[in-house]
Amino acid sequence: MPMFVMLSLSLQQGDVVEGYRLTWHWQTYIEGIRTYDEQIIRSLGYGLAACLLQLAIGYPMAYWIAFHGGSRKSSYLFLLLLPFFVSFVLRTISWHFVLADDGIVLGTLKGFGLLPEDFHVLATTGAVIGGLAYNFLPFMVLPLYVALERIDPALIEASYDLYASRVQAFLRVIFPLSLPGAFAGVLMTFVPASSDYVNSSVLGGTHNTMIGNVIQNQYLVAQDYPIAAALSFTLMALLLVGIFLYARALGTEDVLEASAR
């Protein structure tokens, strides 16, 4: 099965390092992590920030579509997926264009004197996190929606019958039942967000490089394969530990189901 090949491939990545040097040169790992610790921490931080932002934006949206969407639920979900019909790179570049210093938004506001001339959004941390949140938002909303949709309305009514207030019903019934969806959403957005390098290089300027930028640069420009492989292996190990802890704790069904939709 091709998927087994894939698994062995990702394992072979470690071998490339050793094969290259022909010695168990763990030094490369230490060196790589030490040199780029700033980018590694920044990537995890940006990924986390984008995740929380998406949770804050996506949860109310998923809630509303699941409970108040009525017969037009699928239309709303379709609207949610519209950005996926435009290439990922093109979407990000479009944001670059919208947010450019003299672009249509900032340029106009500056023209009316509403913003100072030197105000800019691009090349800031906020722009990168915003871009990440934008690009992966549907991956957060869909699993949340699936989890919320699946809640039996009778459970919520039962909580009202037992004199729960609306807030209590939400906190004690709806929210705990939606947690698997939230975890699936966090996983599906945190992984691509923290390893992305498109947003940080298009929207982030030179001071917001993430570990993805380093890996891409080492592989494709500097061609220093050992260090690049060591770094991507480290990234994979960090993410895999999270993924398998997640799979052990909550099972794989939710994510598989959500991605099958």
Partner: protein, 275 residues
């Protein structure tokens, strides 16, 4: 004051409920607006009558870029590559993914749990890691990078998505139908062709469409495995420093419109089948 607060919640309850859901409604539409904003800008600036290569300020409405769509040779070639790779990926990943999906949905076999974990890992794995792993493999095996390595990579990351879509459908099928076909004298292949395949076809179709969409959109894995071959997303990436020409917006718009049209047709088709 105390008497008021005693009666207020009961009378105010209804309107407050309404405003809460209305707020959420507005929030939902704001988010949808946010999601659509860059797309709208992209489409709009495909109609921009720009004089220079830089497509940054609005200079009037024109259709001329639609007429001069294929003027940039490299870009046209990149789009052609993307479409061809997408088509081949759809066919190959569609076929292999369907087989895995049927196997997972219908049979119990050794290593099934492991296969589930691998599919899960492949979907939740970071793209950059897949790309880097593939590149490492290609380098150690001395495979020249180009069209074929892109194709192999795309087939690989599309298979899990197809097989999961198919598996979901297979799980809903009644195995008695296939047994009935076999009782009526149909061989394994005939059963598959005349009974199983037509029943899972909607899932195969949507899995294939998904694979096509993923393939044509993919940037990160392609970036790692492409060598000097250029696809549509790679070309756009390369053009960012110089400012992308309006043809990019037009092509993006056309892909967007075609994608939406296909998705709507697919949904209508599914609804008619269900009805």
């Amino acid at each position: 004051m105390t008497t008021l607060s005693g009666t207020e919640p009961a009378t105010k309850r209804r309107p407050r409920r309404l405003t809460g859901s209305r707020l959420l409604h507005i929030h939902t539409w704001l988010v949808i607006g946010w999601l659509c904003l860059p797309i709208a800008v992209m489409i709009l600036f495909g109609f921009n009558d720009t004089k220079s290569r830089f497509n940054t300020t609005w200079q009037g409405f024109t259709f001329k870029w639609y007429g001069r769509l294929f003027e940039i040779e490299d870009l046209t070639k990149a789009l052609g590559n993307s479409l061809l790779i997408g088509l081949l990926t759809t066919l190959i990943a569609g076929m292999l993914g369907t087989l895995i999906g049927i196997a997972l949905g219908r049979y119990r076999f050794r290593g099934q749990g492991a296969l589930n974990v691998v599919l899960f890992a492949a979907i939740s794995c970071a793209e950059i890691v897949i790309g880097a792993a593939l590149l490492s493999l290609f380098i150690t095996m001395n495979v020249p990078l180009g069209f074929w390595t892109i194709l192999v990579a795309h087939v690989m990351f599309c298979i899990p998505f197809v097989s999961l879509t198919v598996r979901a459908r297979v799980l809903t099928l009644d195995p008695a139908l296939e047994e009935a076909a076999r009782d009526l004298g149909a061989g394994t292949w005939t059963t598959f062709r005349l009974v199983t395949l037509p029943m899972i076809f909607p899932a195969v179709l949507s899995g294939g469409l998904l694979a096509f969409a993923l393939s044509i959109d993919d940037f990160i894995i392609t970036n790692f495995t492409a060598g000097s071959t250029i696809t549509f997303p790679l070309w756009i990436w390369g053009s960012t420093k110089a400012g992308s020409p309006p043809q990019v917006n037009v092509m993006g718009t056309l892909i967007f419109v075609a994608g939406v049209a296909l998705a709507v047709l697919n949904a209508l088709y599914a609804r008619r089948r269900r009805a």
